[in-house]
Each structure stands twice: as C-alpha cells, then as structure tokens.
C-alpha cells in the first residue's frame, strides 16, 4: 500500500496533543487550607490523587480514531496491477468513457463504472501540463467536454461525469452507444487539433463490446489507448464473476391448450461458473404485475436453459404486460438482465386466407375443400376465420389495397401458380412481418417460378415433381407412405409419443403417388415435421423474419395422394395452421434496446406512457415523418397512443406497444485480452491506484460510534 499524500501523516504528531492537554492542561484546582475538610465529601468520584490518567480506554479509542482520520487524509491506495501508457509530453486527448450496461457488473463488491471513475481520476492526474483534454461518454445524451487545457479541463470533466451519474439533467442509461459507436465522436473532438500529439484514452471493461471492439487507431491517425477497468494491457484478462441473465424472452399462442393460451419461453444463460457444478435458478412469470407461475432450471457453466411457462389469458384483444424475472438472485453481479418484458395479445380469431389455385365446382375436386372441411371441424374451429379467394382475387387485392394482408394471420397458397414478380415481394414482406404462410404444391406450381419469387421464404428450394418409385433409390413402389410425424417439431409441441394425440396424428396409411423433391441445403435452417417413408420431406418448415413458412410437398387435395382422407389430416392441418399463426405478433414483441430511439408507426402526435407511469408527448420532427420516441431510459413496457381524440376506434388503432430491454449482448462479460499500446514520442506509465481511504473513512465512522457508546456507558456507570 502507498500513500498519495504522505505529508498528511504529520497530522499523527497531533495525536500527542490530547495526551499533553490531558496531563498539563487540566484545570488546576484552587488549593484552600480549610479547617472544615472533615465535613467535605465529594459527590462525584473526583480523583483525589494527583495528575492521574483516567479513562485510558476511551483516550486510546479517541487516539485510534484520530490516527485513522489522519490516514484517510493521507489517501492510502493499493497499487493495481494496471499500468497505463500515458504520453508524458503535452498532448491533446479525449477520454472516452464507457456507459454500456456491462459497466454495471460488480466485481469484488465494486461496480465497473466505479472503477472507471477511479481510472479517470488517475488519468487526469497523470496527463502532463500543457495538454488539452476533452470528454466523450458513450451515451448520446451525456454531456461532452471539448478540448480544454488540463488545469481547467480536469475539474470540468469530473464535474460533467458527476452530473451525468447523478442524472442531473438526464438519467444515465446502459448501452446507448457501444465504444465502437462512440469512438468517431471522440475522434471528431480531436479532428481540428493538429499541433500536439493526439490520443484517445478509452476507459471500459475488457469485453468484446468494450475495449475489445476498439481499433488501434481512430480516424486512421489517432492512437486509441485502452484503459481497462480490470487487468493490465498485454496480460491475460482476469476472470469476471459468474452471473446469470435472461437472454431472450418470447411468446406464442398455445392454441393446442386453449384459444387464449400462450406459451412464454425465457432463454436463461449462465456466464462463467465452476465447471463441475450445475446451478439451479428459479424464474417467475408475472402477468399484469401479478405472479402467476414459477419454474426452475439447471444451468451448466456458460450454458443456456429454457424456462417455459404456459398461461391462459383472462381476456383477448388488449395487450397484457408479461414479465419474467429470475428469483433469489440478489447477489447477482449484473442484475439488469435478470428480468425481461413482453406485451402479449391473444388472438380473438385467427384469420386464415386460403388461395384456391385449382377451384372446382365439384367439391371433392376443389383444391381447398378438404382443408376447409378439416379446419371447420377442428378444435380450433371457433378460433378460425377461414376465407377463400381465387388467385386473381388475391392479385387484385394485392394491387389495389394498402396493407392488403395486414389482418391475415395465415395465408395458404394451395396449388397456386407463382405470383407475378411485382406482387411476390408483398408476400415475402408480410411473412417477414409475422404472417404465416402455408404452401401446398400441385400441378400449377412451377419450381422455377417459386424458387425465383419466393426463394427467401421457401424452407428448401423446389427441384422437381416426381412420381413415387422414381425417386432415387426407389424403383418398385408406385406410392409413398408417410413416416410417423416428428413429434419434436414445434408443430407437435405438447404431443407425447404413445399418447392419444400422437395416435391421432398417425398418417401411416397415407399413400402418395407424387411429390415435389427439394434441394438439400442445411444453411436454410429448415425443419422437417413429416417425412415420407423414403425420407423425403413431406411437410417442412422454416422461419422467415417474424413469420413462419410451411411447405407441403404433395397436394392438399386428392390429386397426388390420399393424405386429406386420413384421419390424421385434420389434426395435422389444425396444428400446422396453429403453428403458423403463432408467429410473433410484431406489435406485441416490438422491442428496442435501452437508449435506442423507437420509431413509431405514424406521422402523428403520440403520448407515450413509460414504465414509471409518466406520459411523454412525442411529435414528429418534420411533417410526414413518423414520430420518434427517444426517452427509452428504463427497461419495461411502453405504450404509445396517437391522437388522443374522442374516437375510440381511432385511438385503439393508434395504440402501439413496445418494450425497452437491456441488450443481451451487453451481458456477455467474457473477458478479452487487451493489447498493449506502442506510443510514439515520450511516454510514461501511470499506475492505477485502488483507493482505500473510503474503507478507512468507514472505520473512522465505526470508531466514532463506539466512542460515543463507550462515553455514555462510562458516564452512566459513574452516576450509578
């Protein structure tokens, strides 16, 4: 340990003052030779001996307290292993201070942003006279300090950081800018400084999004000097403490349970940890502020676990606030990611639009007859609104209407020829926005056209339609059977092998004469739900953006097989529709990171309600542009109401819900090695000190309390 102000130790000489004062400065009593001494008895136990030191334990306590106070003034510090290269000659510099969420990580009882402040103090003390210094905090709303001579700039920078941390004007928030995003701003402050050497001292944690994201040079010419809150440049980074956080939170309708049921999944991650031990963590689901379910998961070191909740909403339509929180994690070093939020809205009805590619007056020959019938008699019949259109009607709709598919939850293209090139992107865009798409093939499907216009959507690209028995490896059979359904596929979630539901899905008797072969491509991330006995996919799915796509490689009618005639067709069709409809509703899953501006849907004046209950007005900056809400400071549920007029329908239509969440990438505190920096010119090294006077100040306060208690006890003992 060393002392930053060793001269303050001279104050220890003052410890002798109480002793001297006690021994010499005692009030000399007036001596009286008095004949009546016989009748005098002291009421208080006044010392009748001469010059004795009394209450020495109390005196010792006071001396100890004074000594501790003197030591606090001497500013004791422990030399950290961090040694930062500092230009020892006058130079222009900007200090770049990390404001991301990972700076809230507590290591050894101290948060990283506290260590960053200590680094800042050491740097400001080490920058030589004649230098100019500025400040950029990685938060666009934080104060900046332009280049100022160090004598004046140092105090201004300290004051700016203090004001920002206290939230005097705006509250600090995590993750507003990454260090890499903030670096150009720091370089801009130095752009006009050309006379002196230039450097940027970047104070951040040794993580990939902190110091690990910074280049060696900014603007191609300004040296970036990393100042790590932990560890030393060029040395292996210290291991951060283990912590647990929720990485993702999602929900989907669980229509197989109930039309109003939802399934909420929280992906929990354990960062670090002892390799030999699993960690059990609890999680709780709250709906509109009330806890409704709990569960527990086990986590391996650096591993994930999914906590699933099923809940039936009391009502449909209006958004429901859902929150998942980790339980019993009060000592978590990074608590900001221990909870996440969702808006949930159960569908009143699932709008299914079926495009009939091969209509027929004979119902049995109609392309969508069996599908419509199956859906009408399914357990979701009350929740489904199935409408059919011909292809030309669809095309008219796509051409003539704005947001023609806005209210469609699932679009079924049943043996439909490919849409014109100008219309196909509308489908692609709508699926990306959350609509489900079911494509069933037939004679009217052209592999070439579909691949060209729907390539982003298709689980796998279409190759060719073949007859059974002509598939590679099969020369004898004239029809293909269907293998048992892949119960692990999300379409069949909740179905246990051997259960009655699994039995209902039995399509083993199905015979298919013809099917489309697909181009294998593992990069597309397709998932087979049902396969033919040859192994070729029969029903294959893929996610695209917020939406889902299912591809049936045979006809949905009787043209190419007897699939629709099998009892298993009804549950298959129902589950497929339900799964497609369970694609995340963008309006309820809309999430932005803390500090990121949220663009609202309309060019209108909004009133945004924050998690704290405040109502913030938001107006578009320019006419015609959508309103942008910037006060995304707190994680939680936000709702934006446009044009608060008397028309309820208009208001309801203008109500947008979104959540503000902590960027899960900030929770990754995996350390990265920090490079050392080779500086041109005269350099020095400043040792980063770990101050210890705060601990001593606490000791002083503790001794003060003990001294007061001891004094009171002694007085009571004397007075009996």
């Amino acid at each position: 340990m060393s002392l930053l102000a060793p001269l303050a130790l001279l104050g220890l000489l003052g410890l002798s003052l109480p002793l001297i004062a006690h021994l010499l400065g005692r009030e000399r009593p007036q001596t009286i030779r008095f004949a009546g001494v016989r009748f005098v008895r002291p009421r208080e136990p006044v010392v009748t001996q001469r010059r004795e030191l009394r209450d020495w334990p109390l005196l010792l306590l006071r001396l100890l307290m004074l000594a501790a106070f003197v030591l606090v003034l001497a500013r004791p510090v422990i030399n950290s292993e961090a040694a930062v290269a500092v230009l020892a000659e006058p130079h222009d510099t900007v200090i770049l201070l990390d404001a991301s969420g990972s700076m809230d990580l507590r290591v050894d009882g101290k948060a990283e942003h506290e260590r960053a402040n200590e680094r800042l103090d050491s740097l400001l003390d080490a920058i030589p006279p004649g230098s100019r210094v500025g400040l950029v905090i990685a938060d666009p709303r934080a104060p900046e300090v332009e280049l100022t001579p160090i004598a004046e700039g140092g105090p201004r920078i300290r004051a700016a950081v203090d004001a920002w941390e206290r939230g005097e004007k705006l509250p600090p928030r995590a993750g507003a800018w990454t260090m890499a995003e903030a670096l150009p701003r720091a370089a801009t402050l130095l752009s006009e400084a050309q006379e002196l050497p230039r450097a940027i001292y970047a104070i951040s944690d040794p993580t990939e999004r902190g110091l690990g994201s910074l280049p060696e040079l900014a603007d191609g010419a300004i040296t970036v000097i990393p100042v790590s809150t932990r560890g030393a440049p060029g040395q292996p980074p210290p291991t951060p403490p283990e912590h647990v956080g929720i990485r993702e939170l999602s929900w989907e309708p669980a229509l197989e349970l109930d039309p109003k049921a939802v399934r909420i999944t929280a992906l929990i991650h354990r960062y670090g940890g002892d390799q030999d031990e699993d960690l059990e963590v609890g999680a709780a689901l709250e709906i509109d502020g009330e806890e409704v379910a709990r569960t527990r998961v086990k986590l391996r070191p650096d591993g994930d676990a999914a906590a699933e909740f099923s809940h039936t909403l009391a009502s449909t339509g209006a958004g429901v606030r859902a929150r998942v929180s980790l339980l019993d994690r009060d000592d978590d070093p990074l608590p900001i990611d221990d909870r996440r939020h969702l808006w949930i809205a159960a569908h009143e009805t699932i709008e299914v639009l079926v495009i009939n590619g091969d209509p027929s007056v004979t119902r049995a020959n109609d392309e969508i007859f069996f599908l419509s019938t199956a859906l009408r008699h399914s357990e979701l019949a009350d929740s489904l609104s199935v409408r059919g259109l011909a292809l030309d009607q669809l095309e008219d709709r796509l051409r003539g209407t704005q947001n023609p598919l806005a209210k469609v939850d699932v679009l079924v293209l049943a043996n439909v020829r490919a849409l014109p090139p100008e219309l196909a992107p509308l489908i692609v865009e709508r699926v990306a926005a959350g609509m489900g798409l079911w494509i069933s093939v037939g004679d009217r499907v052209s592999a070439t056209d579909y691949n060209a216009r729907f390539a982003p959507l298709l689980p796998l690209l279409l190759r060719e339609a073949v007859y059974a028995g002509t598939a590679p490896g099969r020369t004898e059979a004239r029809s293909e059977g269907v293998a048992p359904a892949q119960l692990s596929h999300p379409i069949f979630a909740g179905t246990l092998r051997g259960s009655s539901e699994a039995g209902e899905l039995d399509l083993g008797a199905t015979r298919t004469r013809r099917m489309f072969l697909l181009e294998p491509d593992p990069r597309r991330g397709a998932d087979i739900a049902v396969a033919f006995t040859s192994g070729a996919p029969a029903l294959i799915t893929r996610a695209h953006g917020q939406g889902r796509v299912a591809l049936l490689t045979t006809t949905i009618d009787r043209d190419w097989g007897d699939l629709p005639l099998r009892p298993g067709f009804v549950p298959l069709a129902t589950r497929t529709i339900a799964w497609l409809a369970g694609a995340q509703n963008p309006s309820s899953r809309d999430a932005v990171g803390i500090g990121v501006a949220k663009q609202l849907g309309r060019s209108a004046t909004y009133s945004v309600t924050t998690p704290a209950g405040a109502s913030v007005p938001v107006t578009p900056k320019r006419e015609g542009e959508p309103a942008v809400f910037e006060a995304t400071d707190l994680p939680g549920h936000y709702s934006a109401s446009a044009n608060a007029s008397g028309d309820e329908q208009a208001s309801a239509a203008g109500l947008e819900r979104f959540v503000v969440e902590f960027d899960p990438r900030e929770a990754d505190t995996t350390p990265v090695a920090i490079r050392g920096v080779a500086l041109d010119g005269e350099t020095g090294t400043v040792t980063i000190y770990e101050p210890r006077w705060r601990e001593l100040a606490l000791v002083v306060l503790l001794l003060l309390g003990i001294e007061s208690g001891a004094r009171l006890w002694l007085r009571r003992r004397r007075t009996g």
Partner: protein, 328 residues
C-alpha cells in the same frame, strides 16, 4: 517598618478603650485565695451585704450592726460577700485550623484578641491568669500556672505571635490543665472546635468520639467546680462555604491529619453545610447538657462588641443559651 508590639497587635487602642471600664465578672461564685472582685462562696470582707447573724465572741466588733441590734434587742453581726480573686486559665488551640483568614479576620488573630482581652481584664482586677497553647502537636505550658503577674500579658502576646500550625492535642492539654487548677477557675477554651481530633482516614464516627472526649474533659472540669467557657471562633467562609462555582477546588487539612479533597465547589457546598450545621448543633446541645458556656464569634466582626457581649454573658446576664453572631 517597625514591628507592631504583640500586645498592641492583639489589643489595639480602640479595643482597650472599649474595655477600659469593664470588669471580668463570672456569674457563679468563685473561691480565691486573695481578695478579689468576684463573689466568693464564703462570707468575708467585702462590699456587698449578705446576711445578719448573732454575735459570737471573737467577732470583729466593727462588724456589729447596731441598727439591727436595736430592732432585735440582740447583738447582730453584719455579714458581707467576700470578694475573692479569680483564677483564669486559657487553653488556646494553636493548630493549623486556626490559621484561616487574612489580617484582622484571621481566626488566630481573633483568638489572640479574646485571650489578651480576658487576660488584661483579669490582671487589672488582680486575678491570676495562666494559659497554655497547643500547637504543632506540642504544648506550651510554661505559663499554665495562674499567677497575677502583669508580665502574663506580654508572655501571652509572645506566645501568640507564632503562627498556628499542625495539630492540637486536646487530650494532653486537658490532662496538663487539670492538676494546675487548685481552686475554682474560669477555664476558657479558645478554638474553632471543628475538628478537635480525628483519624486521618476521616471516619466520622472516630471524629465524633474525639469531639465527645473533649466535651467530656471540659465537663469534668465543670463537675470539679470550675467554670468552663468555650469560645468558638469561626471564619465566615467556614460558615457559608462561598465556593459554589463548578471550578474544581482542592481543600487541604491545615492540621495535616486528613487527605485533601478535590471537587467542584458547587457540588461540595450543600453537603458541607449540612454536616457543619449538624456538628454545630451537636456542640450546642453538648455544651448545654454539660453546663458549659459556648460563645461563637465570627472573625470578621468587630471584636469590641463581641468581647462586651462575652463579658456580659460571663457575668450571667440573660441571653441566648448560646451566644452566637451571625451563625447558622
């Protein structure tokens, strides 16, 4: 600066002028060997009529009262009070306790004034005077034998010139006094009677025993036929304890017997006054029971009125059982 004559110091001219026409008269008859001015228990030659008796052969015919004989048809002799001389014995406390006070207010100075005044009066009227001073643990008994020599006053002045110190051994003093009293004597004990004896440990019980021993000793003199008067000389500070501030004071025993006591004056005063008053009341009651005259004088008052009152008291004029001045 010329040193003041010890007698002049004890008896200034004003005091002598006040006592010029006074007499030291004791209320109870005294038996003196020589003709004096005090009532004698025996009829003898004197000025005051006492009684008639029948003439007996051998009586001085000049004492025949012819007028009474004419009335009674018998020869009658006139008897008069005999005026015999008084022995005055002064026992003076010369311990350190008598040193308190400054200048004329010093207790020792007042004790000396009282002793010198009584001695001067006694010698003027032909009485015999003796004195003893107990000081520094010792006794000055050279002049204890009552004699009617005029140099007694000077000897007294010389004896009182030294400052009081140490302790006063009352028991030895009374033991020495008793055998020297061949006839009725007026024994005058001059002291503050605050702490006539006690243990250095300051136990009140032991101190009280010494008080009682002193009173018993003096009472025994009374029982032996002597007149005993206690002249208690106190300083006002001893009566009022003026140190009532929070400042710490250290009280030393001038007799050197007791340990010093330190404490804030304000916290000592009330208890001191309670105990002092209790002691003074005990002294008064003990003197009354033992037939001892107790006179309490404050050293800051004028000595002349004090002495005149004392003389009146000794002469038996009615007054308080205890002559006190400004006491509690």
């Amino acid at each position: 600066m010329t040193e003041l004559d010890p007698i002049e110091r004890l008896l200034p001219a004003t005091l002598r002028a006040a006592l010029a026409r006074r007499e030291l008269i004791v209320r109870r008859p005294v038996a003196g060997a020589r003709h004096g001015v005090h009532r004698s228990p025996r009829p003898g030659v004197g000025r005051d009529f006492r009684d008639f008796r029948a003439y007996a052969p051998g009586d001085d015919p000049r004492r025949l009262d012819w007028r009474a004989a004419a009335r009674s048809q018998r020869l009658v002799v006139r008897q008069t009070e005999s005026e015999d001389e008084l022995d005055l014995a002064l026992v003076i406390d010369g311990s350190g306790g008598m040193s308190y006070g400054e200048g004329v207010e010093q207790k020792w100075r007042r004790a000396g004034t009282v002793a010198a005044a009584l001695t001067s009066l006694a010698l003027r009227q032909g009485d015999r005077v003796g004195f003893a001073i107990a000081r520094a643990g010792g006794l000055a008994l050279e002049a204890l034998e009552p004699v009617a020599r005029r140099d007694r006053l000077r000897l007294l002045g010389l004896g009182l010139a030294d400052e009081p110190s140490g302790d006063c051994d009352w028991s030895a003093l009374l033991d020495a006094l008793g055998p020297s009293l061949r006839r009725r004597t007026l024994v005058v004990a001059i002291s503050d009677f605050l702490d006539p004896g006690g243990s250095s440990a300051g136990e009140e019980g032991a101190a009280r025993e010494h008080d009682e021993a002193l009173i018993r000793g003096l009472t025994s003199l009374r029982s032996a036929g002597h007149d005993v008067a206690l002249i208690q000389i106190l300083h006002r500070d001893e009566l009022e304890f003026p140190w009532d501030r929070p400042r710490v004071i250290e009280l030393e025993d001038p007799r050197g017997r007791r340990a010093s006591v330190e404490g804030p004056g304000g916290s000592l005063r009330a208890d001191y006054l309670d105990k002092l008053n209790a002691h003074l009341r005990w002294l008064e009651q003990s003197c009354e029971r033992g037939g001892l005259l107790l006179a309490r004088l404050l050293s800051d008052r004028e000595p002349a009125p004090q002495l005149l009152d004392l003389l009146a008291r000794l002469a038996g004029q009615p007054g308080d059982a205890v002559m006190r001045e400004g006491g509690p």
